[in-house]
Symmetry: C2
Subunit: 433 residues, 2 copies
């Protein structure tokens, strides 16, 4: 009977801005984490975080503190027995909901706390998160989803049917993963902050390391985008996948114009072609891009999709061909589970967003669970990989030949090294003094 | 040449929760404000705020502090000369944008700062905000709108045409307002926290005071909603307008079911029938409600519509028949201006959301400006009125016979009394000690 006795929040920031890592059309910062530790009465410590871009990390920290009383003093058993009630205690707090609702700072803080609870649950079970989830009974998984506001897209019965069907062939799928790992793609080659020769060198190195899918940032001057795209395509040949990410910089018509030009290099997807909230805009772009490329290129989005209601609409409107769930933008595992199930129902592959701080560590579990129990296919599935900041985690991701290897340590791989927290704590850690 | 020399933030909370004021299906709190003062070098003080629901007000205060460096040290002249550049310095901050983008805590904080700048501009001009805006040249108003991500719905040329046309008959419309005031409706009669006899007594009193449009909260048990609706309808007769507000509590199909029953009392609109982000859901409900009532009832929403991109889609999808802009949920006057212009283009009347703390004070200026220069009609236009907390402002709203009287003091009516700030400052003010 483990009780969560206290909630500790750390403002941890890594000085990445200076190197240009993570620079795109709209973001440039110091990769940071609002890091949450759940102390327990003698059990393991639950670890969760939300990723931020530097300044403002203190705001999400304040939001975690405002929500912490819903977690402090709770037992893991009572949370696991009534997960939706617990989730709503955070997301439907009668005073704090106004600050979202279910979006932005307050929802990211919810995600950090909720994920810390899941990390604790998996550690107590002695299993890596993906296995813990994949082995849960269908009823327990369905009981984890808050169907409020999504019943017009997915009912509990439909969710149960997907999860039951996911048991078929699960052992075979697991064996394949243990043998081959999980497919991924790299975003480390084409940040906007990198000069052309660095992009070419990184592309060549990644190809040599086995990567056959690479993503570049677009959304600068169209000539620059096209020149860099041609350079990458020349390095990787016609068969490897080249994805593009505009980070919302375009208006709807600009996106269509840009993709008309960029279609030349045979992009596999265009990610965040316009404002993240623009479901109808994504749908229009998707129709145009499908027509332009005969269906070879699709629209992808999700890293700043605020919640399951936005994802629901993206699916209902046929606006995306790839769904990029994020582990900590939304309200943690519970909400991601709703998103994976909706994607499965609508037949859209999930390729989680990663990078930042610890996102690769998080989402590998979600993608593996999705393959084992929900989507049940590797067709079109890849986990994003960015080669940053893994060394600060106790259970960092491992890749081989462009594929993620299965994590084995109990928990959600979300635990940061104590010495990393101490060094990069803002503003008092040695790295910032 | 006025310079903003400093930004002060106050966490002000009014203990309203105990009385049930402001209770609805999902919100119950202490009406609060993240109150911003812009100090200047010898000029007036600019005042702005965002409204919150109690706990968590410290989070929006932290967000204002994180954004304040974009305002501190700027001159009013340079902001007025390049308003979009100023607005984007807040909304597209390369590190802080990740926390929204343009939604929730960080966007509400942006609104508080941006509105404080507008209050300062109007005070320097010696005009109430509505007059200051209505008298701006078309080019200046168009230059205030950030068209990024909305050009597929409204172009700068279209905006200019609307504003130019708004000059026709402006003097006559102003004379009518000066004579009659601006139509409004009251929400003070039907909060969920009130017992039936209190609802009946308040309805009778409001009718006697001249109100012919009243809003009740729904979203509790359907039998209760229907009983209270019948009681209000009985008090106000068949000709007065009865509006309903579900505060997002229903799923899409639940909303349609509920309105099938509630149509009996001839509601004029159903507000927030489902999740605020659900554009497609609102569109489905709108089609159903139109069919159910032969077009007598319409869908209204907006108080938690995160930004202009959500409003754009609500209009594009034919999802709303009433647009309820909020003064401080979005990024201040600049973004509201974009919303008013889109509503005018799509022919949807704007009835601003008010209540809370100081929202009536804010939105009267927006509605009057809309009538004078943008929408140019009173057809279907009403400002929400809630009889709460006006006494804490130096220039409180005045109503007569269910209509707002024109404010006359220079500024945005957003200045709080110094003694009110001192008394209700959280946690150290006398009211909270």
């Amino acid at each position: 009977m483990t009780t969560i006795t206290d909630v500790h929040v750390h403002d941890v920031r890594f000085p990445t801005a200076a190197s240009g890592d993570g620079s795109d059309a709209i973001n440039r910062g110091d990769y940071s984490a609002t890091y949450v530790e759940l102390a327990t009465d003698g059990g393991p410590t639950g670890a969760g975080f939300t990723f931020t871009n530097g300044r403002g990390n203190e705001i999400t920290c304040a939001a975690v503190r405002a929500l912490a009383h819903h977690v402090r003093g709770r037992t893991v058993a009572e949370i696991a027995a009534e997960p939706v009630a617990f989730w709503r205690s955070l997301t439907a707090d009668v005073q704090l909901r106004w600050l979202g609702p279910e979006k932005g700072v307050i929802h990211m803080a919810t995600g950090a706390l909720v994920n810390a609870v899941w990390d604790l649950r998996a550690k107590l079970a002695g299993k890596p998160m993906w296995r813990y989830l994949a082995e849960l009974p269908t009823d327990d998984l369905v009981a984890t989803v808050d169907f409020h506001h999504i019943t017009d897209a997915l009912t509990p019965d439909e969710a149960a049917a997907i999860l039951d069907k996911g048991r078929d062939g699960l052992a075979d799928r697991l064996a394949a993963l243990e043998r081959d790992g999980f497919p991924s793609y790299t975003t480390s080659v084409g940040w906007l902050g990198y000069p052309d020769d660095k992009v070419r060198a990184l592309t060549r190195a990644a190809y040599a390391d086995g990567w056959r899918a690479m993503k570049m940032k677009v959304g600068g001057p169209l000539d620059d985008d096209l020149r860099r795209a041609r350079a990458i395509r020349a390095e990787i040949g016609p068969d490897a996948l080249l994805m593009m990410d505009a980070n919302q910089v375009w208006d709807v018509d600009e996106a269509i114009t840009a993709m008309t030009a960029l279609a030349e290099v045979d992009p596999y997807w265009i990610e965040e072609p316009t404002h993240a909230d623009d479901v109808l805009g994504h749908a229009r772009i998707a129709r145009a891009v499908t027509e332009l490329t005969g269906g070879r290129c699709r629209v992808a989005t999700g890293e700043v999709a605020a919640n399951r209601v936005i994802f629901k609409q993206l699916l209902q409107a046929d606006a995306i061909g790839v769904m990029q769930v994020d582990a900590c933008r939304v309200g943690g595992v519970d909400e991601v589970l709703a998103e994976l199930l909706m994607a499965a129902k609508f037949g859209v592959p999930v390729c989680p967003h990663a990078g930042g701080v610890g996102l690769c560590e998080y989402v590998q579990h979600l993608a593996i669970f999705d393959f084992l129990r929900v989507g049940a296919s590797l067709d079109g599935r890849m986990i994003e990989y960015v080669d940053h900041l893994h060394e600060y985690f106790t259970d960092p991701v491992r890749t081989r030949g462009g594929r993620y290897l299965l994590p084995t340590a109990p928990g959600y791989s979300s635990t940061m090294r104590a010495e990393s927290i101490a060094e990069f704590r803002f503003p008092d850690g040695p790295a910032w003094r």
